[in-house]
């Protein structure tokens, strides 16, 4: 007797081009059958008529606590004398103080992300001596409320620095205790002026608490490269290969290719993943070079319409297009790479093993009208159906889970 399935998605076009039926049982993919599965007494059958089905997108880097999505428009305040992170933080603090409640804004952004097809989210959340655990507590509640719609992990992010913001080290540890999944960091040199000091704290928590690491690194050129090397050394020393990511690593877009290759080898050897969102207006890591050296590259939308910049729609498919557009990816292989970066690579970077269109994985699917992933990346169909554990959570840009 065949088991009763929850849903059979008929005539799905898989990324490899085959037409198949996807059998979902208990929220997981039970089988993918090229041709046609039996009726099997499924609760429901959905005829996809050849629509492209891909795994849910992985939003590998976002700041759910900072966005104005769900709030009124707030014009960007330009710096008074060139980029100054402390000035930007002051602007942000002022704007956040007058913003709609964080719970409301984070929820709106979360729903926007899901509506575009993200089923996994890694959000950084400010934890430092100025904001304490307030942002974290809010996002923990949001995560709980949306757990049926999306998998969310939270990175305790010392936005104002660690060493230069006394009390932050204890708060980061408390954040992990309170439920944050990962430990973050930020520009040990540029922010703290103490590379070893910050990395001692971050890797100390990683080691003691057994949590993975994701450090923001904007510091330019060889200064940034040096910090990548320090991070790699500590990663190897603590046996944290596969558990450490560096976000942005702009420095890899600043330095000559031979330095990039050398650094990439070091990163690959230490199993460090690099997150890039292809910022557009400044150099960023050369993705192909990193990939060729064996470095795992993943992506996220980063800031979405907040005090840092007005851009972002929380759409990882758009992010894939921007990755490709800004990297000069034109061939099918390159567009496929852009797509992998927002799907399989993101899952790997986040340590998620049961991901993808395979038996046993959760039925987290995005269905859209595109011939293949390459067309999906350049066309970014507006009309998508998003399933989480086999249940519809969004359609055509509108969140619809309860």
């Amino acid at each position: 007797m065949s088991p009763v399935a929850d849903t059979i998605f008929r005539q799905a076009r898989l990324p490899d081009g085959r037409l198949a039926d996807i059998v979902v049982a208990g929220g997981r993919i039970a089988a993918i059958e090229a041709g046609s599965a039996g009726a099997g007494g499924a609760q429901q059958t959905i005829d996809l008529a050849g629509a492209l089905v891909v795994p849910g997108f992985v939003e590998g880097h976002i700041h759910l606590d900072k966005s104005w999505i769900g709030d009124t428009w707030k014009p960007h305040r330009p710096h008074t004398a060139g980029f100054d992170v402390r000035e930007r933080l002051a602007f942000e603090k002022e704007l956040l103080a007058g913003a709609a409640p964080m719970d409301h804004r984070a929820s709106a952004l979360m729903e926007l992300a899901v509506s575009h097809g993200s089923t996994v989210i890694r959000s950084h959340v400010d934890v430092d001596a100025i904001v304490g655990l307030r942002h974290l507590e809010t996002l923990l509640a949001v995560r709980e409320r949306y757990r049926d719609a999306v998998t969310m992990e939270l990175v305790a992010f010392p936005q104002r620095g660690v060493v230069s913001c006394p009390g932050t080290d204890a708060l980061l540890d408390a954040a992990i205790e309170a439920g944050a999944d990962r430990i973050g960091g930020i520009d040990p040199a540029g922010m703290d002026r103490d590379i070893e000091g910050q990395l001692d704290v971050v890797f100390g928590i990683a080691d003691r608490r057994g949590v993975a690491v994701d450090i923001h690194l904007h510091d330019p050129g060889l200064l940034g490269v040096f910090q990548l090397e320090q991070i790699a050394a500590r990663t190897a020393a603590l046996g944290l290969q596969g558990r450490v990511a560096v976000s942005h690593a702009y420095c890899l877009g600043d330095v000559p290719l031979d330095v990039v290759r050398r650094t990439a080898e070091t990163l690959a050897g230490a199993g460090i993943a690099i997150m890039t969102n292809a910022p557009g207006y400044r150099p960023f890591p050369p993705i192909r070079v990193l990939r060729d050296a064996g470095v795992l590259v993943f992506s996220g939308n980063d800031n979405v319409r907040d005090a840092w910049w007005p851009y972002g729609e929380a759409d990882m498919l758009q992010r894939a297009m921007l990755l490709g557009y800004c990297s000069g990816f034109f061939t099918d292989d390159e567009l496929s790479l852009a797509f992998d970066i927002v799907t399989a690579n993101g899952a790997r970077a986040l340590g998620i093993t049961d991901y993808g269109l395979k038996p046993g994985a959760p039925a987290d699917l995005v269905v859209m009208d595109a011939a293949h992933v390459q067309e999906a990346v350049v066309a970014r169909p507006v009309r998508r159906a998003v399933y989480r554990n086999g249940r519809l959570v969004a359609r055509d840009g509108a969140f619809c889970a309860h």
């Binding site: 428009w73 330009p78 557009g280 851009y311 000069g328």
Partner: protein, 402 residues
């Protein structure tokens, strides 16, 4: 009997003021504040608070080369870095077994109309192989869709201008519906800068037409060509009639080196078209504007043999220009929007453009609060009007026969 054909209530103008837009005979007959005794109209349309902007202008597109409406063709990369001649050869091969030009150009035209483009300038190739057949197809398309979109045609040679018979072909093109004379890289592609420019300016002067040249040539060579074009433009009194498309060189060198050329361009009234490519330097928009140069935008190639990108949406093009230029403030986002509206209309010589009295009622009603939000949000919900008649809604082209 009312003289007003349609009254569009509930419009929000770009400056924020609510208004009723009165249309008579396809032109704007009035902009009334709401709440006044409503002028009688044969028909009333409630825009429900939508942001109303002038129709978008695509200042540079290639209707004849797209694979829109045809099957996907994987990109073939150049063998050793970007090379115009190689790209032209690859295009020739791929177009040879493409769907008929009518099918492809129509599909793309309906796409761009559906996204809000009410005016476009398309470049169209002439070649000894296919003579004026592509031009004839585009001229026929222009006529068939004249109620939905205004089209200018630039005729340019796919091969070099000096190839025997080409000049005659271009001259014939100007008699058969092409408006403007085009060309490509007088130095880098033609290999004879003065002869190419002699030919182009000769035809322009003889027939009283404008010029729009593709300039990819790099660095100091590109600047040299821009200077020469400026000299000829001024000598022939063709200020306002000449466009240099791409002009990457303006973004490839330090501003101090570029500034003198920029000043010459401003004095010669030459406009610069950019589509803000992702992986290549492009003209610095603000610096050029401050120097008095008109900069405007176009989508350029859309899903053809040159690259797979592009979905026809000029609002997305505005976003990409802003994203690549580092435009964050409201004023800067409005500059990006200006490049797809007012500046583009001025650059290509559209008469009576905008939301003024007497102007053709060519406008887009968008689900956005204001222009900055429209640029970063790219709302899918839009209604597009040409001469006061609905031609597209929410991304769907509406045939006049419906």
């Amino acid at each position: 009997m009312s003289e007003i054909d349609v009254a569009f209530d509930g419009a929000r103008l770009p400056d924020g003021t609510p208004a009723t837009i009165l249309v008579a005979g396809g032109r704007i007959a009035g902009l009334e504040p709401p709440g006044l005794q409503a002028a009688a109209a044969k028909e009333r349309v409630d825009l429900q608070g939508a942001l109303v902007t002038p129709g978008f202008v695509d200042g540079h597109i290639h209707l004849d080369t797209t694979f829109f409406g045809d099957r996907w063709r994987p990109h073939r990369p150049c063998s050793n870095g970007f090379n115009v001649a190689e790209r032209v050869a690859i295009q020739k091969e791929l177009i040879a077994d493409a769907a008929p030009i009518e099918q492809r150009a129509t599909a793309l035209l309906e796409r761009v109309i559906s996204r809000g483009t009410t005016h476009l300038r398309t470049h169209v190739e002439v070649d000894l192989d296919f003579q004026l057949r592509h031009l004839e197809a585009i001229v026929a398309l222009r006529d068939r869709y004249r109620d939905a979109i205004s089209i200018q045609i630039v005729a340019f040679a796919r091969g070099t201008i000096l190839r025997e018979g080409t000049l005659e072909l271009l001259e014939e093109a100007l008699q058969q519906g092409a408006d403007i004379i085009g060309g490509v890289d007088p130095a880098g592609y033609e290999g004879d800068m003065q002869a190419h420019l002699d030919a182009v300016f000769g035809l322009a002067e003889k027939h009283g037409r404008g010029i729009d040249l593709h300039l990819h040539d790099s660095g100091s060579l590109g600047l040299f060509e821009l200077d020469e074009v400026a000299r000829r433009t001024t000598a022939l009194g063709m200020q306002g009639q000449v466009v240099m498309s791409h002009s990457y060189a303006l973004g490839e060198l330090p501003w101090a080196t570029v500034a003198p050329t920029a000043r010459r361009l401003a004095e010669a009234g030459i406009a610069i078209m950019t589509n803000a490519p992702g992986d290549h330097p492009f003209p610095p928009v603000l610096a050029l504007r401050e120097t008095g140069v008109t900069v405007f935008a176009g989508n350029d190639d859309i899903r053809d043999s040159w690259w797979p990108y592009g979905d026809g949406d000029m609002l997305e093009r505005a976003m990409l220009i802003g994203y690549r230029s580092g435009f964050f403030t409201d004023e800067e986002l409005e500059v990006a929007f200006d490049l797809i509206t007012e500046s583009a209309a001025r650059a290509i010589g559209v008469k009576d453009y905008g939301l003024g009295l007497g102007a053709p009622a060519d406008f887009v009603a968008l689900d956005a609060q204001h222009v900055p939000e429209a640029v970063v949000g790219r709302p899918a919900r839009r209604a597009v009007y040409k001469n006061g008649r609905l031609v597209a809604r929410d991304g769907n082209f509406i045939s006049s026969r419906q």
